[in-house]
């Protein structure tokens, strides 16, 4: 048991240190760069090539087609390295390169090409993808359609698709 202020000081300082450990490390495993998670993305086939982001930095060779001031990146990034913004059904933003180059999505695109009908007549579907999470960007410009204005978004995950399936 405690026997005096000196021992009490030790206990209290230990309690403070232990408290800091609880707060820092007691909240479950933190995200690491090799993590692969399953993510659902809500899409229509017209999203292919129609969604843009604006970001000044490049992340592991991946970059948006535009800078944060809206100017196009030159030379434009290759299709498989070009980030585009997508939303999960619960409104989380992701920046993903080459999503429609995934075989399941490419096949889905071929089944309902957006040229044949207006956007609002296209059927919305869910892409269920295994994604490698790379990093989170705190601020990014996004444009959901070439004719739409740019908007600001925050806390967007940059993620690389490993494999995808489609749910209609």
């Amino acid at each position: 048991m405690l026997s005096g202020p000196k021992r009490e000081w030790q206990i209290v300082l230990l309690a403070m240190a232990f408290g800091a450990v609880i707060l820092a490390f007691g909240r479950g495993r933190a995200f690491t760069k090799t993590d692969v998670v399953e993510v659902q993305i809500t899409l229509i086939t017209a999203d292919r090539g129609d969604l843009d982001c604006g970001l000044d930095q490049s992340i592991q060779g991946l970059s948006c087609g535009f800078r944060s001031d809206g100017a196009a990146v030159t030379p434009p990034p290759a299709l498989e390295a070009r980030l585009a913004p997508y939303m999960t059904p619960d409104r989380r933003l992701l920046l993903v390169p080459g999503l429609f180059e995934q075989p399941a999505l490419s096949e889905r695109y071929d089944r309902e090409r957006p040229t044949s009908r207006p956007k609002h007549r296209l059927k919305r579907f869910i892409a269920k993808c295994q994604m490698e999470l790379l990093t989170k960007v705190p601020k990014v410009k996004v444009r959901f359609g070439k004719r739409n204005p740019w908007g600001d978004a925050g806390d967007a995950w940059v993620a690389k698709p490993r494999s995808c399936s489609v749910q209609d």
Binding site: L2, I11, V12, G19, G28
Partner: protein
């Protein structure tokens, strides 16, 4: 280990009367240094947890939309239907006017009242127990408790009601002049002007005023002042939107509001009966956002379980202490009007029981957060008990405070919306709490 001289004198033993007007004795730093350091650390961490990313999320949480939307209407001078009296929305509107319509302005009033609550609980406890040690313990408990932190981080009303009810009781228990009565009327009137269940504190303050020898003769002033405040804030809200601020208009507005409350028939899935609050069986997630990487940001109306259950024991213990010498003695204490510890205990108990009793016959559904004002008056009782324990069994009391600190930190991510994994979140919750 033998208790120190400072420890022995810090809190009057059970059943004895403190000399009226005796100055509270502060624990000596050289003997109580570790305890003081820990308690101050708890207060500092509690304030930091309240402030952490206060402006996140940018969207409205739980019932915030009720109050923020009404505040927006007030800023636009448009009439808005009020589910509760308008004072809280007027305050939020004031912050939105000064800082802009954003999450910081919505939640800053709750944050400020939440910080003030720490000091008010400390001052009230120090006064009732004639012990600044007990006051500091109570302040630290409130600072670190998740229930209070949650209500300091949302644009909801209950944390603000707590502040006004504590301020009112502090004025009337400590005061000796008419100014204290007027301030108690002002503060209890504000509590009533947030939600109608604040009426409990107008009544409790009035009774405490009656029990105080120097204040007794001013008691009607307290009621008048509270009623004036209630009228004034209703009238200001009505005049602001271009309506009449007459007494008749204010009565009509409140009559419609009461009728609306009495007409509630829908039972919300997160509502809970008053007798379940002691466990509790149904804390409410004010926010629960899952991120893509599996982390969750959660805000749960759950206090530190150790403090929660120990506070109920403290309530029981205080009630026993009051009743043991006999009800006649209690009545005599109340009638004599001297400011004794027993009178303080009685009114802490009354303020604990009042908000619960309000919901016993209630026809509409109640929620766990209706227990928040009661909890604010239970923690001083617990702090008084721990301070007394510190004087006699010091290691045990210190161990309790250390344990309360650690458990609070375990639950801190659920009160301060720190990122936490789903499994770590679930590990903190009983099955019924998930």
């Amino acid at each position: 280990m033998k208790p120190t001289a400072a420890g022995q004198s810090a809190v009057a033993p059970a059943g004895t009367l403190s000399p009226p007007g005796a100055p509270p004795r502060f624990p000596a730093l050289e003997t109580d240094g570790p305890l003081i350091a820990l308690l101050l650390c708890m207060v500092a961490v509690g304030i930091a947890l309240r402030a952490y990313q206060l402006d996140e999320p940018h969207t409205l949480k739980w019932d915030e939309h009720h109050y923020v939307e009404t505040a927006r209407s007030y800023l636009a001078h448009k009439y808005a239907w009020n589910d509760h009296p308008p004072l809280s929305k007027l305050i939020i509107a004031g912050f939105m006017w000064a800082l802009g319509d954003g999450p910081l302005a919505w939640r800053l009033p709750s944050f400020l009242f939440g910080v003030v609550n720490i000091g008010l609980v400390g001052a009230l406890t120090a006064h009732v127990f004639r012990s600044r040690r007990a006051g500091l313990i109570a302040a630290a408990f409130v600072a670190m408790d998740g229930f209070f932190i949650a209500y300091s981080r949302t644009a909801l009303l209950d944390g603000m009601i707590v502040a006004f009810s504590l301020a009112s009781m502090l004025c009337v228990l400590r005061g000796r002049t008419v100014r204290a009565v007027l301030l108690a009327g002002l503060f209890s009137g504000c509590a009533l002007s947030f939600k109608l269940n604040g009426a409990v504190f107008v009544f409790a303050s009035f009774l405490a005023c009656l029990a105080s020898k120097p204040l007794r003769k001013y008691s009607p002033l307290l009621l008048l002042c509270a009623l004036f405040v209630f009228y004034a804030q209703c009238a200001v809200a009505l005049v602001n939107v271009g309506r009449s601020g007459s007494i008749a208009a204010v009565i009509e507005e409140n009559r419609a509001m009461v009728k609306n409350h009495l007409g509630y028939t829908v039972v919300h899935p997160m509502s809970s009966k008053w007798y379940t609050w002691f466990v509790p069986t149904r804390p409410i997630f004010l926010r629960r956002d899952a991120d893509i990487d599996g982390t969750v940001r959660a805000l749960l109306t759950l206090g530190n379980p150790l403090l929660w259950w120990a506070a109920i024991f403290a309530v029981w213990s205080a009630a026993e202490e009051l009743i043991k010498p006999g009800l006649a003695r209690l009545w005599s204490d109340l009638r004599s009007g001297s400011s004794t510890r027993r009178i303080g205990l009685f009114f802490l108990l009354a303020c604990y029981a009042g908000p619960i009793l309000f919901w016993v016959p209630a026809l509409r559904d109640a929620y766990i957060y209706h227990y928040l004002p009661s909890y604010a008056f239970a923690l001083p009782l617990l702090a008084g008990l721990i301070a007394r324990l510190y004087a006699t069994r010091r290691p045990l009391a210190l161990a309790f405070v250390v344990l309360a600190f650690e458990i609070s930190l375990v639950y801190a991510p659920l009160a301060a919306e720190l990122p936490i994994s789903q499994s770590a979140l679930n590990a903190r919750l009983l099955p019924g709490w998930r």
